[in-house]
Subunit: 388 residues, 2 copies
């Protein structure tokens, strides 16, 4: 390279895809703060505060609650490699792309993996899962709460109890749910949960908040084999995030600054108010999308407010429209993954981006590209007007 790349100067975007969602301006400001050392008493205090807030957002008292120093998929791997010993049975309930990944990750952890599937876009009936647990007798059950590939919202409140009645631990994926809809780790009897920073928490990608129940910690500490990943080995990492604060790896300081600010924003608003806001803006968006003839993939009653996955109408070209949204309007929405490639759009209203101005912007841009001027925005405005 003879000349160096120029100053960072990205075109402003509105990120309304499946994530990353826009970071809140206060989060971005926090990230420009000079560093503390990872063992500085002031940084240790920021870690404690981050953990306390994270417990509130997860609705748990689990001591082992902290952000893994990598993105969401590392959270999935952390849960599986720590809770599974080679040869143990793991049941993965897969209803989309990310459930499929859990099968792969569990297999690499040495598990004997059993798979329960429903067609993409559907959710599980808990009786189905109970029956399969009885037949397969897994030590661990894994399931995705908010399936990012289909927009389907899996009810989970009773699943922990069912797992515990059958001596299995429950791992749930809340990558696309935390900070958007209710996640209640203790009430739901969840043993291990992971999420990400770049969706409902309105931070950049880079961290995976996790929480392990006392039952999960007991399994962890009674392992016979070493955790195969050094970096994700919670028997060691918990010494840094626990009371000892013993050095393991250098924490990603700036990302922790970001997460702390993102959690402050969640709790300033209040969990219930935040979930209500996500529902409210979803209703407006849904009215607009429906008016434009865009139909949800997930069944009524199981549609995620924060991730609106709709079928692309016949005769409409996926890439053409998404490219126009990006270049003419600066709006990013998501295409389909896996079997929905080219067939679905995924519109995210996550965290900070779940607000009327985002709903109206994306509908205005979509109706313009679909040659249906006014149709989507009017329908959304009617929902907002009714609520006012």
């Amino acid at each position: 390279m003879t000349t160096l790349p120029g100053q960072l100067n990205p075109t402003p975007r509105l990120l309304l895809g499946p994530g990353p969602s826009d970071a809140h301006p206060r989060v971005l400001s926090a990230m420009a703060t000079p560093l503390l050392g990872h063992l500085d008493p002031q940084f240790l205090q920021l870690m404690t505060e981050t953990q306390q807030m994270l417990r509130q957002v997860y609705q748990t008292t689990n001591p082992l609650t902290f952000p893994v120093s990598a993105t969401g998929m590392a959270g999935m791997e952390t849960c599986l490699v720590n809770l599974v010993e080679p040869g143990e049975r793991v049941l993965v309930c897969a209803k989309g792309y990310f459930g499929g990944r859990m099968i792969d990750v569990a297999g690499r952890a040495g598990a004997e993996v059993g798979v329960l599937e429903v067609p993409w876009g559907q959710v599980f009936d808990l009786d189905q899962i109970r029956d399969r647990i009885r037949a397969f007798r897994p030590r661990v059950v894994g399931i995705v709460h908010a399936e990012t590939s289909t927009g389907a919202w899996q009810p989970l409140a009773e699943l922990g109890r069912i797992c515990h009645e059958h001596d299995a631990l429950l791992i749930i994926d809340t990558v696309t749910s935390l900070g958007c809809v209710e996640v209640a780790i203790d009430a739901w009897e969840v043993d291990a949960v992971y999420s990400c920073s770049q969706k409902g928490l309105s931070c950049p990608p880079g961290l995976s908040p996790i929480s392990f129940s006392p039952r999960a910690v007991e399994k962890l500490t009674s392992r016979k084999s070493k955790v195969q990943s050094w970096y994700l080995d919670l028997t060691m990492v918990q010494s840094y995030w626990g009371s000892e604060r013993a050095y393991h790896h250098t924490a990603p300081i700036t990302m922790i600054y970001a997460l702390r600010e993102g959690l402050r924003l969640v709790l300033e608003e209040g969990l219930t108010a935040r979930w209500q806001r996500h529902l409210h803006n979803h209703r407006a968006l849904k009215a607009g999308l429906t008016a434009l003839g865009l139909h949800y993939i997930a069944p009524e009653g199981h549609q995620l407010p924060q991730l609106n996955a709709v079928r692309i109408p016949d005769g409409v070209d996926d890439l053409t429209i998404r490219k126009r949204l990006l270049t003419e309007f600066g709006i990013e929405i998501g295409g389909g993954l896996g079997e929905f490639k080219g067939k679905a759009w995924r519109i995210g209203l996550m965290g900070h981006n779940s607000r009327p101005s985002c709903v109206l912007q994306v509908l205005a841009a979509l109706e313009h590209c679909l040659n249906q001027p006014g149709v989507g925005v009017a329908a959304a405005e009617a929902v907002y007007a009714q609520a006012a």
Copy 2:
């Protein structure tokens, strides 16, 4: 928690420990930039630019050169889990704390690990390593270039050739060397290298830049077993960082912004000028430390300019002095690790922080705490005066 933690407001620090070192102000500014999506064409271009600059800094043409989405230790794990198949022999040359970690990580990857050791603080003679390679016949050899725990600088220029003569791949750890002293991946015939973002590159912690030689890629693509880590599996990750740009995991956008800016700073300065600057400020610091009666752990000729590890004099209490440096002067230096705990100080002059004002500040603070007013600063100033 009834009240929320307040606004982020850390006391300004000067980070002169073993890392993190201070992020450059331009890097911090870059991190406040709003996000692009991880598949946005503009972000893909930023990735390409980051890779091109990283290749220059590593002095390599290796196509497979990119930052792993996690901190430096994940880079070590990435190299080992991708290049080792269960049962293969790995020789680790350990001369300090981080060499010791490599033994652990290689073992978890299923390797039959052989260990060659010298006392902490020493470096290896390459003949020693050659003899051990002949006897043990490893498939992979691992060694640390700049041992962060002892400040010892391992000569490596001929080791790649020796490994290749014996059909072994060479992995080197440049966590504490990249951006501070010469690292020449192609000329040294290195097969896999990892580093970090928070030292010589003057970014926050959070990324681990790696590079794999064609020989390493050949080993990777001819593996018989799946890589045990999904998150670090380069057979998949390389599709995102390669020409396909296929989705694997969501890249840590903001950290990539930071790294791109950090690499721009390195190349604006020029590699040779940067290494000279590190040497120059090291000489001044060393004169000051020596005048204060602080002696280097590593032997003459093998002392890292960017990490000055010295023995704490008898009768001086480690924690007392370091606490005073932090609270009275806002300066962080490092204590000893492992067998040097309480017995060594580690003073980093890395990247942006290798400059006269840092040298003089830390010497002034140290001589104050050690009751030797003027002694250290005067010696350093004499070095600077001589050079002027």
